[in-house]
């Protein structure tokens, strides 16, 4: 019995030490628990909206990751290619990269959304899927440079190592060394760590921009036309009142008990956003520690 108890506590301790896995499981369990709670206590139409808002947010964030990988990778290769063949073009590319970097992400995304709405109003965009992809593309446009920065830093680091020139002398093409040896074999862990961070940033930016346009630009950049996300759900008057109830409960302690029953929609949306941000931040830290980054 004691041996069994020791084995169990050892397994728990080991799992707790693998912080990335621990926080991922915690996130899954947390989301599952909230979902079951909402099935029990939230009305059906609100629950359907919440589900689609969560899934859309998740889908867009995953797409942002995919776009960021391909965008970052492609620009890195282009940068390296220009560096070798056309140094002047590399200066121009660098200029535009720095230009995008100097645009505050939220401003860039907001302007992208304005263009998106113009396209919707002109009837050029109507399908829900295309809208989701476009939203992800706009966000990725202002995030993918993080992947570029990482890959560029890794390539610069490895270029100084002996193995790079040794491989070149052996007749291996530079493209092969960069893609296979540096990026795929030596930077995959760094890349995954960066993608975990990008997932968190994209959730934060997506929810913020959707909240802003739903609150402030609801007449023009209409939240009705754009797919529902956690940000736009939070901006709804019902959700806002639910969040306001938290402040009310600070002076009326007895009211706290009523929050998870009577103000479920807004509190659930706010909690999912914050809980996801915390879990993915801790996951990224845990992953970095596990791989000694």
């Amino acid at each position: 019995m004691k041996q069994h108890h020791q084995k169990l506590s050892y397994t728990i301790a080991k799992f707790y030490r693998q912080k990335d896995q621990y926080w991922f499981v915690l996130w899954l369990v947390g989301i599952l628990f909230i979902w079951i709670w909402n099935i029990l206590y939230l009305n059906k139409p609100a629950l359907r909206q919440l589900e689609s808002g969560f899934l859309n947010t998740l889908f867009i964030s995953i797409l942002v990751i995919i776009f960021s990988i391909f965008g970052g990778w492609a620009i890195t290769l282009l940068y390296e290619f220009f560096n070798q063949r056309f140094p002047r073009l590399q200066i121009i590319l660098n200029f535009f990269i720095n230009l995008i970097r100097s645009i505050p992400q939220i401003v860039g995304i907001l302007m992208g959304y304005v263009i998106l709405t113009v396209l919707i109003q002109k009837g050029l965009l109507s399908s829900n899927w295309i809208l989701l992809i476009s939203m992800a593309f706009i966000i990725a446009l202002f995030i993918f440079l993080e992947v570029f920065d990482l890959l560029h830093e890794r390539i610069t680091y490895f270029r100084r190592r002996d193995f790079f020139n040794a491989m070149r002398v052996c007749g291996i093409s530079e493209r092969f060394i960069i893609n296979r040896e540096i990026i795929w074999r030596s930077s995959r862990i760094h890349l995954i760590n960066k993608l975990i961070a990008i997932f968190g940033i994209s959730i934060f930016l997506l929810c913020s921009v959707d909240f802003i346009i739903s609150v402030g630009l609801s007449t023009d950049v209409s939240s009705v036309d754009l797919p529902v996300t956690l940000g736009s759900l939070l901006a709804k008057i019902d959700s806002k009142q639910d969040i306001l109830a938290i402040g009310h409960s600070l002076s009326h302690w007895g009211y706290v008990v009523r929050l998870p029953f009577e103000h479920l929609q807004g509190i659930t949306v706010a909690f999912i956003i914050v809980f996801t941000l915390v879990c993915f931040y801790r996951m990224g830290n845990g992953y970095a520690r596990r791989h000694h980054l």
Partner: protein, 379 residues
């Protein structure tokens, strides 16, 4: 420095020219051009049974339109916004005041400039506070983590002591200790949730208790929300950790420099020096680690500043703080006032660029200093 400055100036000129071209490509419209379908707006505003100055009647019109054209919600929203603007212009014209046209005059420029200065002041203040907080918390954690046990370890030690204790008194003491530790971790989790919460979630939670339009609240939100503080504290902490593993630290320890990482003990670090504005740890190895990390962090400071601007924009826009730069930006996007939008965007771009120039010049100054030291050493 000249090269760096030139690069930044070229970007500023490029963006400025781009905005001027956009301004000329989409010229300022006359007050009638502001509306997509003026005849339709006039038709609705001239109806006898509807007073569209009243929000109830506007809502009634919207709902009626929704029934007849359910798939044109966005168009109805835009139409109602335009009706509202049209009626405001009509009222102002009757009262003899100017219409809300899209022309930019001196007054408007001055008001934008004042808002920009206000934004810059808040931004600089929040940047300084967050920089101080990031440094302080990272240093505190760096020292504290060296001698404190993790939650799991401390809980298992107390639990082990609890299971081995025989008398009631020690059992209750250990139980209280476990409860206190658990309470501590719950409190920490709550703090973590607040620090990661987007500003609008925190602001709406406390809207009934505080004036959410005050500048003080905006500064507080800028510092504590959006995960800014915790993310960059972690980055600073990582820099400290990797710097402490370098070879020179071991050499310094061998050469008898103080290396105890414990607060207010002999050979350790005084807690007050961690919280000081001008931090230094004379005679302690942390002094050199801190100096080096401060230099390394400068490149990350650019990133922090950019994220801070994003955070402040979110706060102003999401909370609809009237009379502030980003609220004005949002209003002008809403009324398709392109020239004002471009001016505000250019202003924000200038703030980012100026920050980059300042940080780059500090970075260069440090690099030159290190270069001089190393060249003096080699001589």
């Amino acid at each position: 420095m000249k090269k760096i400055l030139n690069n930044h100036l070229i970007s500023i000129v490029f963006v400025g020219l781009l905005f001027i071209i956009i301004h000329f490509l989409y010229p300022t419209e006359t007050s009638d051009d502001m509306f997509s379908d003026l005849s339709l707006i006039r038709t609705y505003t001239e109806l006898d049974f509807l007073d569209l100055n009243s929000p109830e009647d506007r809502q009634l019109l919207k709902e009626s339109l929704e029934i007849y054209e359910p798939d044109k919600t966005s168009f109805h929203d835009s139409l109602l916004a335009e009706i509202e603007l049209y009626l405001t212009n009509q009222t102002r014209a009757t009262a003899g005041s100017r219409e809300s046209t899209k022309n930019i005059d001196g007054d408007k420029l001055v008001s934008i400039l004042i808002m920009l200065i206000k934004f810059v002041a808040i931004y600089i203040l929040v940047l300084l506070i967050t920089y101080y907080a990031v440094e302080t918390f990272a240093l505190y954690r760096f020292v504290h983590d060296r001698y404190s046990l993790s939650f799991f370890k401390s809980i298992s030690i107390i639990a082990h002591k609890l299971s081995n204790s025989n008398n009631f008194k020690s059992k209750s003491v250990y139980s209280i200790k476990i409860l206190a530790k658990t309470g501590q971790i719950v409190l920490k989790a709550l703090m973590l949730l607040i620090l990661f919460a987007p500003a609008y979630v925190i602001a709406y939670s406390f809207k009934t208790r505080f004036d959410t339009e005050s500048i003080v609240l905006m500064i507080i939100l800028g510092v504590i929300s959006n995960g800014l503080l915790i993310t960059y504290t972690q980055k600073y902490y990582t820099f400290l950790l990797s710097e402490s593993r370098k070879g020179y630290v071991q050499t310094a320890v061998v050469k008898n420099l103080d290396s105890g990482f414990i607060f207010d003990k002999e050979g350790g670090i005084s807690l007050s020096s961690v919280f000081r504005f001008n931090k230094n740890f004379p005679g302690h190895i942390l002094d050199q680690i801190y100096e080096n990390v401060r230099f390394q962090y400068l490149t990350t400071l650019k990133e922090q500043a950019s994220f801070l601007i994003t955070g402040l924009i979110i706060i102003e826009m999401a909370l609809n703080i009237q009379g502030h730069l980003c609220y004005e930006l949002m209003q002008n996007i809403l009324y398709k006032n392109l020239s004002v939008v471009l001016i505000i965007l250019f202003g924000i771009f200038l703030i980012v660029k100026l920050t980059e120039i300042v940080i780059d010049s500090i970075l260069l100054k440090h690099q030159n200093k290190i270069g001089n030291i190393s060249s003096e050493d080699s001589e």
